[in-house]
């Protein structure tokens, strides 16, 4: 394999149990987002746009749909000679097989792949965040600091800081002096984004130690980062000030979708930084003679005959005459029949809301209908 400067590794094995009904059949990174995307499109597109074109995707939980979606990687221009996307599920060895026991273990179990790719740096990403970011600047900062590890951080409101892993840094240099995992009394509001750049030999050394340590939970945040700090390694933060959203819960997933509907969205999907996705072969959507559509995003293959207000509509969705869809996210091929009402809801793929039926949630509790269910 051709040598690469920076190898991307996307942790895409998470179950996403807090997304409840939406991850019954798919892994969290394969959950639809923003009208035509899947969550994993964001880290993948960020990699490609940042010039990283060798990317490993570590899968584990219900990987079929994710594997199917990634295919050869051509949708992201990642079907490359000597590069591209590599799908890395757990596999059996002479002494048996292990699931990935934690984020660090997932990389540890694939150290042979990392060696094969032979990078100078390894970029580790999680597959459950929505953001657009140029990793090449972060890599540049890593090199300039002569760092062992660079961690992407994001300023969160102080009152939310106790929910995150907090990096306490030296204001002048950005060097990390202390790491607090979900602290009651945070000393900083710089939350870890779960984005790490490691110098490869350094990473390999720590992973090999951690891999055989039976007392470890094999997690970057829990085990490796504190140990590295303890050992006096050079850990630096890299501050990101764009839009960044963890979409690990129903409410945050819904909110991130709604964020796209603002008149001036907090982050631009329409700009030069393209988000790539697997495009279905479908026509422009059709808006019927009596339809009304406002403050919404709608994609190809849908047909709208009713009212859609403040909602995100994926491909192949049908909204019947007199039906009303508000404040909702409708996944591919869901059907909302004539006169049905959907408010503050997320409908998964192939859901059918029968004529006249109602699905209503509210701002504090978004109603979720699981894939293929028929209501009413």
């Amino acid at each position: 394999m051709r040598k690469t400067e920076c190898l991307g590794m996307i942790l895409a094995g998470g179950q996403g149990s807090r997304l409840k009904a939406l991850t019954k059949t798919v892994a969290k990174p394969a959950v639809p987002f923003g009208g035509k995307y899947r969550i994993i499109d964001f880290p993948l597109s960020n990699c490609v746009n940042s010039g990283i074109n060798k990317v490993g995707v570590l899968t584990q939980y219900k990987p079929l749909e994710l594997h199917n979606y990634l295919g050869s990687g051509s949708a992201w221009d990642l079907d490359r000679n000597g590069g591209g996307v590599f799908i890395l599920p757990p596999y059996a060895r002479e002494k048996g097989a292990d699931w990935y026991r934690g984020t660090a273990d997932a990389i540890y179990q694939n150290l042979n792949f990392v060696d094969l790719a032979d990078p100078d740096y390894v970029l580790i990403l999680s597959g459950d965040h929505i953001y657009t970011m140029d990793y090449s600047w972060m890599l540049e900062s890593h090199k300039q600091n002569n760092a062992d590890v660079t961690i992407g951080v994001f300023e969160v409101p102080w009152e939310e800081a106790p929910r995150f892993g907090i990096m306490v840094t030296d204001k002048e240099t950005g060097r990390i002096t202390e790491f607090q995992e979900k602290p009651k009394e945070p000393k900083s509001n710089n939350a870890s984004m779960g984005i790490y750049i490691f110098s490869k030999p350094f990473l390999k050394k720590y992973l090999e130690e951690d891999g055989v340590n039976e007392n470890s939970t094999h997690d970057f945040g829990n085990d490796l980062i504190p140990k590295m700090l303890n050992d006096g390694a050079r850990l630096f933060s890299y501050a990101f000030d764009g839009y960044w959203k963890d979409v690990g819960t129903i409410e945050s997933l819904w909110q991130a979708n709604m964020d796209l509907l603002q008149d001036q969205p907090p982050f631009e999907l329409n700009g030069d930084w393209k988000i790539y996705s697997s495009n279905p072969a479908m026509p422009p959507h059709y808006i019927g003679p009596d339809a009304s559509v406002k403050k919404s995003m709608i994609t190809e293959g849908s047909s709208i005959f009713g009212e859609v207000d403040h909602s995100v509509i994926f491909d192949g969705v049908k909204v019947g005459k007199g039906a009303k869809v508000t404040n909702s996210v409708i996944f591919p091929f869901a059907v909302i029949e004539d006169g049905a009402v959907v408010d503050h809801a997320i409908l998964a793929q192939d859901v059918v809301i029968k004529a006249g039926a109602k699905v209503e949630g509210n701002e504090n509790e978004i109603t979720v209908i699981a894939e293929g269910e028929v209501i009413g």
Partner: protein, 369 residues
């Protein structure tokens, strides 16, 4: 369909399309918000299991080459078979008009393939078909040639080739006329025949100075061959004039036609992928009976129109009975009615522009009004 090689002909006459086809072939005209006309012929081929397809290039081929590239978006970039470009005959070598000289120049493509049949189609037609049914029909009919036709559902103007058939479905007359009546059987310029029959017709017609495959090849040889006729019952539009182009686009606003052409799960229409964002409808948007392609941002009123990828409609702007191609920008308060805007046209603030339904006003590429 492993026994069939496809040839897609991109040589529809430009004469009646004028402005829109000044720098591109008719088959390269943008269609229905995200397609080009040629997508139908190519998608029909691959959806019918024809994996070896030759593309006869038109005079202006840049738009076509840029659109199709390796053929990957149609699944035609293959290790074996796939897409083959068939360039036009050298102009210096043969000055005659028509498509026949180009077919003749590329005859070895069909002859050297290991296929039994050739399916030759003109790509200026919009339809969704399963050619497997045509092959089955052909095998059962015991004919030398099968032509595909559509029964006209209204009177049609312009040069049209139609057929008459005997009760057993065999063609007993084929002729060109200027306009046809409702109910006529109109040839869709798609033919299936064994490769040797195809080669024989092309060679003998070429040697006798023929120019046009249909007129000089098929019609003049009609007496020598047993021709059967396969009726395509679905929607068909031939794009051979500005009016036909305008009408066919607007036909796609009929949900049944939209469904039939594009939403068949077994036979999707493929096109070049552009990774556009879903359409953004803002607070002031008001859209009725329209097709809106991804990448559009709508703040104004849109009615009975087709908007291609990346079109912007500003606040208070009105777009009525229009076709706006890629990246057109209708600024705040502007108004366009019965207008076809080619790519990248800008209608600046508060300008009004109006054509009539039978004669849409055409704005050429990159114009700023």
């Amino acid at each position: 369909m492993k026994s069939v090689v496809g040839i897609v002909n991109l040589q529809e006459s430009h004469d009646l399309v004028r402005e829109l086809a000044a720098t591109r072939a008719v088959e390269a005209l943008p269609f229905a918000g995200r397609y080009r006309v040629v997508d139908f012929a190519l998608s029909n081929m691959i959806n019918s299991g024809i994996n070896s397809v030759g593309l006869m290039l038109p005079d202006y081929s840049r738009a076509i080459l840029d659109h199709i590239r390796s053929g990957k978006d149609w699944d035609l970039a293959r290790r074996r078979e796939g897409l083959t470009y068939l360039p036009a005959a050298l102009p210096g070598k043969d000055a005659r008009k028509g498509d026949l000289k180009d077919i003749y120049a590329n005859l070895d493509f069909a002859e050297l393939s290991d296929k039994k049949y050739v399916l030759f189609v003109n790509a200026s037609y919009v339809y969704n078909i399963d050619f497997r049914e045509v092959l089955d029909f052909h095998k059962k009919s015991d004919a030398d040639i099968t032509v595909i036709y559509k029964t006209a559902n209204e009177d049609k103007e312009g040069q049209t080739v139609s057929i008459a058939t005997s009760t057993n479905g065999i063609v007993n007359d084929i002729a060109q006329s200027n306009g046809v009546k409702k109910g006529s059987k109109v040839v869709m310029s798609a033919y299936l025949m064994p490769v040797p029959t195809f080669a024989y017709i092309v060679r003998t017609t070429y040697d006798r100075g023929g120019q046009d495959f249909l007129l000089d090849g098929i019609i003049r040889h009609a007496g020598e061959h047993k021709i059967s006729a396969f009726e395509h019952k679905g929607y068909v539009a031939r794009i051979n004039s500005t009016a036909a182009y305008y009408k066919a686009n607007r036909d796609c606003l009929n949900p049944e036609i939209w469904q039939e052409l594009f939403m068949n799960k077994e036979r999707p229409i493929f096109t070049k992928v552009k990774d556009e964002v879903p359409v953004q409808y803002k607070d002031t948007a008001e859209v009725k009976n329209s097709l809106i392609a991804n990448g559009c941002i709508i703040r104004g009123r849109v009615e009975n129109s087709i908007l291609f990828r990346g079109v912007k409609v500003g606040k208070g702007a009105v777009v009525k009975d229009c076709i706006l191609m890629q990246r057109c920008d209708v600024e705040d308060g502007a108004r366009v009615e019965n207008v076809i805007c080619d790519k990248n046209v800008m209608i600046t603030k508060n300008r009004w522009l109006k054509g009539v339904e039978s004669f849409p006003y055409i704005v050429t590429k990159n114009a700023r009004i």
